[in-house]
Symmetry: C2
Subunit: 237 residues, 2 copies
């Protein structure tokens, strides 16, 4: 987790619930620095605290200021989160293309009020716009969902490099020899039942069965289980 | 937007609000097929409809069944969304590594109830697990947030290939000639004020000023504005 992480700035947020939900989303991705510009219902806000749940420390440490300028005074780059296309000439990013710009830079992600979003005056203080790609008919994401997506994209790009899929199957995996023994038991059982109709087809069928067993990525315990299954099936005859 | 898109399966969901919020998240990313397994409070559910807002059609068309098996009967691949590590031997994916598996396949994303998540029995019907990387201390994402992230990752991987950053700055951009004229006006104004202290430093300073003007990616209108600014500043002397 890098020392320098983006801060989240909510400009004139209206609903305490949304402030709390944004804090939760931040917490999920290791972000802690929340700044509020002129929250509509004042501060502190009980609903924000309640909704924040395990992220209450973010709410308690939130910095409340009167203007966006104050909120981003220490930031090198501020990015306005907005879905609306703007006449302002600013570079536009997606969460993906924004992520590299948030590494080792003091960055603010700036979100507008629920009803109208950021004003053009707000956006003019920012160095760029970040828009979350959505299905065109339904572009409206609420604040917390937008924070979730920016947080997620930042986190996987910046802090995350383990691919659990490589880990999950490795423990207790059967060796090729164990799997081959299982195949041989099955093969013998099938042969004794005259399962292989012709000697031409037999190698193909055997190969297909081997493929199934290989692809299954069995554990040693599962191999034992299947040995038992085959034995029982043979016995039941 | 591809014809074959993932469906979202909510297993024993508890709160109508969360069903509605999940539907909204689906709508944002062009997903429509919602399936509910034994919703706790029965069906239809007013709170789900209310929370779904513009995604009410997804709620109205939701398929309600008794078991997970029924819900995924027509699916080729089902993936269990879970943060908990499991003893089950199933491949684990992140939203990113899952996305390619959701192209042109009949896929279900399966989410568990709010309190306990999916049971191991539920997960055993699935072909894999999808876990959303989060900051380790705070792994709990609610259902709608998980749907948002899977939907977002699916959408940007499958449906989205325009990079708005390439578009935004192209309209109305000033030509190099326009920018050079602006520089020459500035340069002349500075020279007349004896801004360039030494003839050795002059080319370096000029180059720095040119760089600033280039990097600013000005529009034709902005060039005109700055011509006016320089003129006015000269006049005020």
């Amino acid at each position: 987790m890098p020392d320098v992480r983006p801060c989240v700035v909510l400009v004139r947020p209206q609903m305490g619930e949304n402030i709390g939900a944004a804090a939760r989303a931040m917490m999920n991705f290791g972000l802690a620095d929340l700044r509020l510009v002129a929250p509509r219902d004042g501060w502190p806000n009980d609903k924000a605290l309640e909704m924040s749940a395990h992220a209450s420390s973010i709410i308690e440490h939130a910095k409340v200021v009167d203007t966006l300028q104050e909120a981003i005074a220490d930031r090198q780059y501020s990015f306005a989160a907005t879905a609306r296309s703007r006449q302002l000439r600013l570079p536009c990013y997606t969460p993906m293309t924004l992520q590299p710009l948030c590494v080792n830079q003091k960055v603010a992600w700036v979100f507008g009020p629920e009803n109208n979003g950021l004003s053009n005056e707000d956006v003019a203080y920012c160095q760029g716009i970040v828009s979350i790609p959505t299905h065109t008919d339904n572009a409206s994401l609420n604040i917390a969902q937008s924070v979730v997506i920016l947080g997620y994209q930042w986190f996987i790009g910046t802090c995350y490099d383990v691919h659990p899929s490589d880990v999950s199957l490795s423990e207790g995996s059967a060796s090729a020899g164990e799997v081959e023994k299982l195949f041989l038991q099955l093969d013998a059982a099938l042969a004794s039942r005259h399962f292989y109709k012709t000697s031409e087809l037999q190698p193909v069928t055997q190969r297909n069965l081997r493929t199934i067993l290989s692809r299954a990525q069995l554990s040693s315990n599962e191999v034992k289980l299947l040995h038992g299954v085959i034995s029982v099936l043979q016995r039941s005859n």
